[in-house]
Symmetry: D2
Subunit: 319 residues, 4 copies
């Protein structure tokens, strides 16, 4: 990835297709990688939350990552999540990902075990020291239950521990403070942490994040409509914010497919991932819409809602 740092653009978290037995469907995964690269994305994030990394065994993680790296064929860089509870376990995943050809690593703060900010900083420094790949911090309080503070990220950016941040905290105010502390939208190249990539996971406000100075976006919905996010990115980069807002609004409407599953009988995460997967199935990319255990599967009514959203967004022609 040296040639492409700081990473910018659209970097979807690659969904992991599963067959009926719950095993990784590598043929569908290869089709998804082509769907994304053909859509114009600038990178791929394998083994992230939208990849159901929390549900994949170590063996399945390896199968999925190898399939993504192979299918990418070097056309775009591949970031790999090294997602586990604490430093020693994250280091193991990170080493495996490096061996399989990942271009960069993505790790969260420790979870399950409760840690102090001082320990969170040690965590990232230790991972970086032990595995020689660019490291992105993944700020995901909804899963990890702690928020990376602006000060902590800035310190780790300035001392070179972190090559970037994937901010899925939803805290746009703190992200803005970080951008300003690093030099502001225009001044970041000359700021204290050059070559530091800021990628937002807030897929509904990408126009705003890019306007504010973020370098790119990691949109779960980008699995379904990579070209839409690329158009949005290009519009902001080209200074055409009216087009960007319009494209973003279209994607916000499409995003409503994540609520397809009924609230009283399944989780919101299961509904969202199931909806992405069934959308990809309806688009001919995936063979199945299966999600991993113990998630409840989308039923016919929910799948009909997904189809409707795709049609409304102009992504399915009426048959």
């Amino acid at each position: 990835m040296p040639s492409s740092l700081p990473l910018c653009g659209v970097v979807p978290p690659v969904c992991t297709p599963l067959d009926a037995a719950g095993e990784v469907d590598t043929a569908s995964l290869a089709r998804l990688v082509d769907h994304l690269v053909d859509g114009g994305v600038h990178g791929l994030f394998a083994l992230g939350s939208s990849s159901e990394v929390a549900f994949l065994t170590d063996r399945q993680r390896a199968v999925a990552l190898e399939a993504v790296v192979e299918a990418a064929r070097g056309r775009v860089p591949v970031l790999a999540g090294a997602i586990d509870m604490t430093t020693p376990r994250v280091v193991e995943h990170a080493r495996a990902a490096r061996a399989m050809g990942a271009d960069a690593l993505v790790a969260t703060a420790p979870f399950y075990a409760r840690t102090h900010p001082v320990e969170i900083a040690r965590h990232f420094r230790t991972v970086r020291e032990r595995v020689d790949l660019p490291l992105f911090a993944y700020d995901l309080p909804v899963s990890v239950h702690s928020k990376l503070s602006t000060g902590l990220v800035r310190d780790l950016a300035e001392d070179g521990t972190l090559a970037g941040l994937k901010d899925s905290s939803g805290d746009e105010g703190s992200l803005r403070r970080l951008i300003v502390e690093l030099g502001g939208r225009h001044g970041r190249a000359e700021g204290p942490a050059p070559a530091f990539s800021i990628l937002t996971g807030s897929e509904l406000t990408v126009d705003a994040a890019l306007l504010a100075g973020a370098d790119g976006v990691v949109p779960g919905l980008g699995n379904v409509d990579p070209a839409g996010y690329v158009r949005l990115y290009d519009a902001v980069r080209g200074g055409d914010l009216d087009t960007a807002v319009k494209e973003q609004e279209r994607l916000v409407e499409l995003f409503a497919l994540v609520d397809a599953g009924p609230q009283d009988t399944m989780g919101r995460n299961s509904s969202a991932i199931g909806a992405f997967k069934h959308a990809l199935r309806l688009l001919g990319v995936f063979a199945h819409g299966t999600t991993a255990a113990p998630q409840v599967q989308l039923g016919d009514d929910a799948i009909a809602l997904v189809r409707e959203r795709l049609r409304a967004a102009g992504m399915l022609t009426v048959r």
Copy 2:
């Protein structure tokens, strides 16, 4: 306010100056209103969180609101917070505010008592029925510990219960979904809830919120630098987003004054409100920087940091 609905622009939550005895300093408050109106703001929000409404007795709330209404002299509309735990108590405050000349009301969901979304909807409907003034919902999970869902706000917008939303949830993704559901940035005028004002309380991402279709902003920092927020607002409205981002970044830097107070001996809220008040004192608007009991007061070191931030933002000339 009929002539000015939907309300838009910069509507600062008016700080409440206190004298050394903790009573409302109406002379300072009148100066603040002039400072704000002269700065070009489009409305005033009295008795909000930044007004320390939670700390003011009913008598003090009346003194403060009357002073704001009087000093405003009809130049801009005055919104009044009716902040209390549940419907019957909110209705009492709302009636008092109406009697004192408020142009619109602002109320949160119930707090302290835990309520169901069905009950939160009843709450807003009951307040609206019992007091004949435009009603804004104040979404403030950090104080109220529940989030107003997009669906609930949309329903209350469409049936005319709410004239607007003051969104201080920090959840920009949900706000975007709401805007799109109401017709999108350009389509809202023809959407299902015309004349519905969306004001963001996220003072660090105002450029982004306005770009997305928000109508205005309620910035606590606008007490200190109303003209800055007006410039920011005007720049977005005029399509000059580069200027808007630059102004927003300057305000983000100035905002750092909220952290002036030491973290280990005082609350973050006390630090922020104390910093706004001492900034206003340093600018010659307030006579004192006192905050209400039981808040810890800013010390000399903290005040020096506030002064430094004002200078860095070009708001204090070196003496």
Copy 3:
């Protein structure tokens, strides 16, 4: 209350009966006080959470407290909640309660406004200084969203700010640490904070709390079955723990009435308070089962469940 300090025994939080118009039904309230005192309780806690204090206007609070004090006729001490957001507002309620004849005050940490532990200590000290009545701290994180630490309560006990603690935190481990720090179950009389009352609000584990050294209990369910809680208290005091456990288990079964209301259409608080009130109506104590706005009222099915629980507990004879 001088003669009865430290307060111990069963001190129910007195429900506030409302008529169909939502006004305080003082006749029912007088009957409830007799029901409780005849049941053998050792004190009354008016204007607490179970009294719907959050829903009562200041006028209604006064009507309710006066009715309780009058009906109690000095037979047992009356504690009054001074429940509001911050110090200045709490002081106002505390003064009113003192003027109406309350024997002691109960106050929470500040809420809505976020405060630092240093400020929470100032809050209790200021309330105690300004109003000359014994003061109980009310630890209620579910409403107030902060927990009183063991160290803070111990400090305020030792310096005489607090006459006691009403612990509704549900954190029995921290309560145990507090008891041990104050001298332990047997040593508290000689400990650093003599005459400090520890009352638990954990109505399902009263036997355990009394065994551990708590002085008494503030059970919402005690409105319905005061005699049951008095039997439980007497059994522990008399060393008959088998009887105590048996009585506690009966009360746990009765407690299930709080879940009478359907979860998808009303809040858990509304269900619980509504169930207490309808139980009192079925027992002939209250004229109505009405709860305050904006709470949803219990329907016929829910009321049938309440009736069934009363019967199962031997409190209603089949008619």
Copy 4:
């Protein structure tokens, strides 16, 4: 474990000693097992939170579990934590634990991935179906961020999915409701879920939990003072509650060693685990007090506090 179900008594979560390089110190671990069994404990829980399971790699987990099983020599049953994010990963750990000779499994609800209660039930059922060992649910909201409801545990107890519950939720009221629903303290043997073990992780209120009908306790502090917890257990079983309370109070005082580490520079978990380990080192059981990365290590001042607490509890003679 068939002969000893339902499991009852004192079942400490076995700390995992680490050498200076962070590897499992099996010699110290064997000494700890003897320390515990000699202290009279009734079972051992390996690979729980107090074992730093979140910090151990799969290889280290295997080394630790094998060492515990081997050192136990069948004297007491060994429960093994199968702690990971979701079903497929938990099943892998569970199979490994079974292969290494564990007598029962302990698993939490899914974490990191957010799941619906329906999915949590599927999770436990799937783990039980795929691995043939008695399964304990581990209710640990502080790590897992969801609480197992009384209804869910009761259903899984009644249908035979669960052999027991390790309740570290701190929610004693809900635990009491569960016990009563299962038949109450005396009636549980004839209740709907015979042979269901309820173990509390609330180590500061064990007397109360046993009085209420819990079968046993999983005390982290039991690593340091197993004999104390056994005396406490025996006292309650023998009906001598005065002795039980006295012993519990001594253990509460000893427990204060968990706060040895400074709050501003290390996590509370690191402080507690470090304190247990250094206490075991001071008692001659462990060679080192090292905790796993990224935890901050206890300094000399903190270790002095640990020593002081051990002395005060009569566990170290003055040298």
